[in-house]
Structures are given as C-alpha cells and as structure tokens.
C-alpha cells in the first residue's frame, strides 16, 4: 500500500512502463520515462544538497516537465510548491521569501523577471530549457548525466508533499501544507469511488497550483492511465477546449463549474463526438442548477459528481448527481462526507445543527491540513481543537463555509462567514485586493466588492478614494495591482469616488456599494 505519492507512480511504471502517462503540447512521456526522468531529477536535486525539509518551486506553463518536476522533488524527499505561471514576479518573490525555497524550476524569461534579491535562498535554479548560457543556472539537458535509478530517501507519510498558496486576507498569500497522507486520503477515495482504470484518459484543466489538479495527476498515475494537460491558451477558448476533449478521447473531466458553463454556452458540445466522456467532476464553486440540467442533457452518457472541499481538506464531501432527481432539485447539494472523513456543522451557539438548520461546517480526518506554512496564528484560527469532544487532542478544520443540513442527510452550501469570495473557482480574499490598493501612495480608502455572476461566480469591483481629487488614474491603479496580485484578483472595474458609504457601526457598507454601483458598468 502506497504511503507516499510517488509510490503510486513507481508502481505504475512497473506495470505500464510503455503506456503513455502524460501528454502536454504534443509531447508524451510513458510511465517508464516518467519514472526514469523523475529519478534523474531527484538525484540532481540531492547532488545540490536538496532533500527532506527543503522546498522547491515550479514556475512555468504546463508541460510534461511539470509532472517530472513534481515527482522528482518528492523523490528526493523535498516538498514542491507549484506557482501560478501567470503571477507577477513580485507575488512570486513574496511566496519565495515566505517558504524560503531551496530550488526553483522555471524558464529563462521568468527567472530574469525575478529580482536578484528575491533569489537569495535559492541553491538551485533549473531551467526547463535544453541549454542555458548562464553559469548560475542548470539546463534540463544536464539531468541526462544522472542515472535513472531511484534515490534512497527516508520519508514518511506525514512529510509535506506540496504547499499550495491561496489568497490571504491581509495581503500576503498563505501556504496550505499538504502531507502525503493528506493527499493520499483523497486520491485513494477517488480511486475507489470513480474506478479510474489504465484505459481512462483524464483531462487536466485546473492550473497545477490549484488543488483540483491533484486528482487529475495522481489518480491517472495511480491507475496507469494518461493525463492530458490542457494548455493555459486552450483553456481560454471554449471551442478549442471542446475539440480537445473530442480529439483526445477524454473519458474523465474535472474542472471548476465556470469552465463547464463556458463549454456548454460556447463550446458547441452537441456537435462534438464526446462518447468517451464517462465522468464529469466539478468543484470549487456553485454550479447553477439551470446549467447542470443543460449539461446533463448535452452529455447524456456521462455521470456527474459535485465535489466540495477547501484546499485545506482536499475534498471532504461529495454528491453524485441523480439525473432522475434533477428536475425537482432547487439547489445542488454538496452531499455528504467522503470515506475516512467526518463533517459536521455547528450553529452560532456551538451545538450540532439539526435537519433544516444552518451552521458552519467543520472537517475531521486524515485529509485535513496541519496548517499554513510559517503562520501559527492563521493556523490556530482555522485548524482548531475539536469543539465537541477531543479525547485524542485531534484537530479539526473550521471551513468558514455556512451549510444547511438537509432532511436526507446531505449538506447544502449557503455562503461564507467572512469576505472570501470565489471567481472562476479561485479563492479570493477581498482584503488581499484592498491591501494591494492601500500600498499605492495616494489611496486614502479602498474597498473591493464582489458582484454575483451566474457564469463565473462573481465579478470584482474596487472603489478607491484618492487623497487628492484627480490624484490617481484608473490605469495607474490597474498597473499597480497587476504588479502585485494575480490577474484573476484584479478588479474588472475600478471606480474613483469621493468617499465610501458607512454602516451605522462605521464599517464600510459593502452591501450598499455592491447594490448602488454605477448602472451597466459590470461588463466593462
């Protein structure tokens, strides 16, 4: 039984050495090649003194090397940190400093954009390019000098496998620490529930720094199947994405709902040959029922499943869509707990909710994170002693998500207890955007609000009060934001105003800001 993620891959390499394991941008690696290449990388990292207790970043667009890198880092005993390939260098620098990366695997363009002062912790810079002219970096071709035998590493299941950075409310991204055991609990449950086989062809739509990709990559490796990495460029164009599914005979799709909605509305699904698609999984935000009904009609052969879970818990609940019940269902439940996971909801008084009641969802089990990298304070707020009984001192994750327990035992998601929002499946703390705005000299006050949107979850609008009238331009604010926060967090619309409305308690009245926004501006 595997207790480390890379063991899933090594076992498949023995059984399916010559079968394709990963496809990206027209290139394929077999399970055997993946084993050999990741062993070489692990030995290269070891030769640079990188191993247990170290972290190595991955910062480049999806390629077959992405999977080699993830596995190679794990095989030397280190932890990988997948970084948004589109994130601005200043954001990457702050993550690099936060978890003091020992190594960075990237490309020359990105490395040059990164301030040298941000690179001080790096003992290794490896480019995913055949050659490099720079003596301080290694090129991918140098890996060929290392043997393809697996390195000897003492690792245990509670070691960190990867750290995923998400938006933090104070303006700094926070790193969710995921151990091998945390991830395997989820991967094992998926293998049992979805019966992934060696003949399956899985898509990978989510970026690799997003936890949906864990299923795509590791369940494909576990089953000896092939994962097809959808390039960032194809994901922008629904018709290309639909053609990709047809062309590669994808049998398992997993994405945020907004990607499914764009496939439905603009992908021409009805004209494609999609008979191979047997399983459609979605997670990350709420899929409106009207779109789910249309999707199930457009893909009559596929089983649909709603997965729910913050990054901190991988996936903790699951709802298999019952086609026969769809017509009566008003809201799509998030379902009930996955295997080896317990969920419960507590009301404001701390009592377990009864059917029909609303409460905050808590998660217990081996899939739950031990906390945020280097941030004991944030960890203590979210990973808490069991509020009802804790004979073993075991901690549980407090999700911040409000749910209603249905009479049939399933849960419904109803909202958040804080200002975190979701847009296209990305978690966004409105405070993270506001912190970025306040860094701009000339900003007196700033407020970010989210306007609900059925297709993508929500659209972001920022209201900015300058110190001096005419002291700031919308363009300068946008430019400032783009250097500090990822594109998905940049408000679509920035409105300069003289002041912000307040509630009776003196807080910024976000409800009024969202309601009274200028008419017709949400789309510009």
């Amino acid at each position: 039984m595997a207790y480390l993620l890379q063991q899933l891959q090594s076992a498949s390499a023995e059984r399916h050495a010559d079968k394709p394991a990963v496809w990206a941008q027209g290139r394929t690696l077999t399970h055997g090649q993946l084993e050999a290449d990741s062993n070489r990388l692990a030995l290269c990292l070891q030769a640079r003194g990188i191993g247990r207790g170290d972290r190595v970043g991955l910062w480049f667009p999806k390629a077959v090397e992405s999977i080699v890198a993830m596995l190679g880092i794990l095989k030397c005993g280190a932890t990988y940190v997948p970084l948004d390939p589109m994130a601005p260098p200043m954001r990457i620098a702050s993550i690099l400093a936060d978890c003091s990366l020992a190594g960075l695997i990237t490309d020359a363009t990105r490395l040059h954009g990164l301030d040298p002062s941000a690179q001080q912790s790096l003992r290794l810079r490896l480019l995913v390019e055949p050659a490099t002219a720079d003596a301080s970096t290694l090129s991918w071709d140098t890996l060929g000098a290392f043997p393809d035998t697996p390195p000897a590493v003492d690792a245990v299941e509670s070691d960190l496998a990867y750290i995923l950075y998400t938006s933090g409310s104070t303006g700094n991204p926070k790193g969710v620490m995921i151990s091998h055991r945390n991830a395997l609990t989820f991967v094992d449950w998926c293998a049992d529930t979805f019966r992934v086989t060696a003949s399956d062809r899985l898509s990978n739509h989510a970026p690799l720094h997003f936890d949906l990709s864990v299923f795509d990559v590791y369940n494909a490796l576990e089953a000896g199947a092939c994962v097809f990495l959808i390039p960032e460029s194809v994901a922008v164009f629904p018709a290309n994405m639909a053609a990709f599914i047809a062309q590669h005979g994808i049998s398992i799709w997993y994405s945020v709902p907004s990607a499914l909605v764009s496939l439905l509305l603009h992908g021409g699904l009805e004209t494609r040959e999609l008979a191979a698609l047997r399983l459609v999984l979605f997670a990350g935000e709420v899929l409106p029922m009207t779109y789910l009904r249309r999707l199930t009609a457009a893909l009559p052969r596929a089983d649909f499943h709603n997965l729910y879970g913050p990054t901190e818990t991988n996936v903790c609940t699951h709802y298999p869509v019952d086609r026969a019940a769809l017509a009566q269902l008003e809201r799509l439940p998030i379902g009930r707990a996955c295997a080896n996971t317990e969920v419960f909801a507590l009301d404001a008084g701390g009592a377990r909710v009864q059917p029909g009641q609303e409460g905050e969802l808590y998660v217990r089990g081996p899939s739950v994170t031990s906390g945020y990298w280097g941030d004991a304070e944030k960890t203590a707020r979210s990973v808490v002693p069991h509020p009802l009984h804790s004979p073993s001192g075991e901690k549980v994750y407090r999700t911040g998500d409000l749910v209603v327990l249905r009479s049939d035992g399933d849960y419904d998601f109803v909202g958040r207890r804080d200002s975190m929002v979701k847009s296209r499946g990305y978690r966004i703390e409105l405070g993270d955007i506001e912190s970025a705005l306040y860094l701009l000299p000339g900003v007196r006050e700033a407020a970010a609000v989210a306007i609900p949107d059925p297709e993508i979850g929500c659209r972001l609008i920022a209201f900015v009060v300058p110190h001096q009238p005419d002291g700031l331009s919308v363009l300068s604010i946008q430019q400032h934001c783009s250097e500090r926060i990822p594109k998905y967090m940049i408000p679509e619309k920035i409105i300069l105003c003289d002041g912000l409305p307040r509630t009776s308690t003196g807080k910024v009245d976000r409800t009024r800001l969202a309601r009274d926004r200028e008419p017709g501006e949400a789309s510009t």
């Binding site: 460029s233 922008v236 164009f237 629904p238 290309n240 990607a259 296209r424 430019q479 934001c481 783009s482």
Partner: protein
C-alpha cells in the same frame, strides 16, 4: 472598408485599454502571443469578441472563437478582414 493598419491600431488600443488591465503592458507587437503573455483570458476573450462585432459590424460565431483566430493582433485582423470579405 478601412485600411488594415487602422483596424490593427483599433484592435491594439482596445486590448491595451480594456483587456490588458495594465499588466505593466503598454505596448503589444502585431505578432506577440496574446494568450502566452496573459493578456487574454477566459473573460477577456468575450469582451474582445463584443468589441469586434460592434466596431466592425461582423457576427462572430462560437465556432470561430478559436486560438488560431485570436493568437495575435495580426491573427485577429486577418480574421476580421476575412469575415468582412465574406459578408
């Protein structure tokens, strides 16, 4: 029909002003990849399509919103010209 270079400038202006959202990008060459530079994303593409429909009076079908038609400013211009010629 206006000249191609005038069209190209209009397209470039719109992308820089409305879609690039000031990603520190103040200039875009005709043949630069819009997606690889992160200029166009899944929201921006539909803003751009609406702009083309309104500005050049063309109808763009879902099956034409393709990477090959929108890779670069030059590709977009070729696409619009082909649409206008066909109508």
């Amino acid at each position: 029909m206006t000249s191609s270079s005038a069209n190209i400038d209009k397209i470039r202006r719109f992308i820089l002003d409305k879609i690039a959202l000031g990603r520190g990008i103040t200039a875009l060459a005709d043949e630069e990849s819009l997606v690889e530079r992160g200029v166009i994303d899944s929201l921006g593409i539909f803003q751009l399509v609406s702009f083309l429909e309104e500005t050049f009076g063309v109808q763009v079908g879902d099956d034409e919103i393709l990477l090959e038609n929108f890779s670069t400013i030059l590709d977009i211009d070729h696409f619009v010209r082909a649409k206008l010629a066909a109508e």
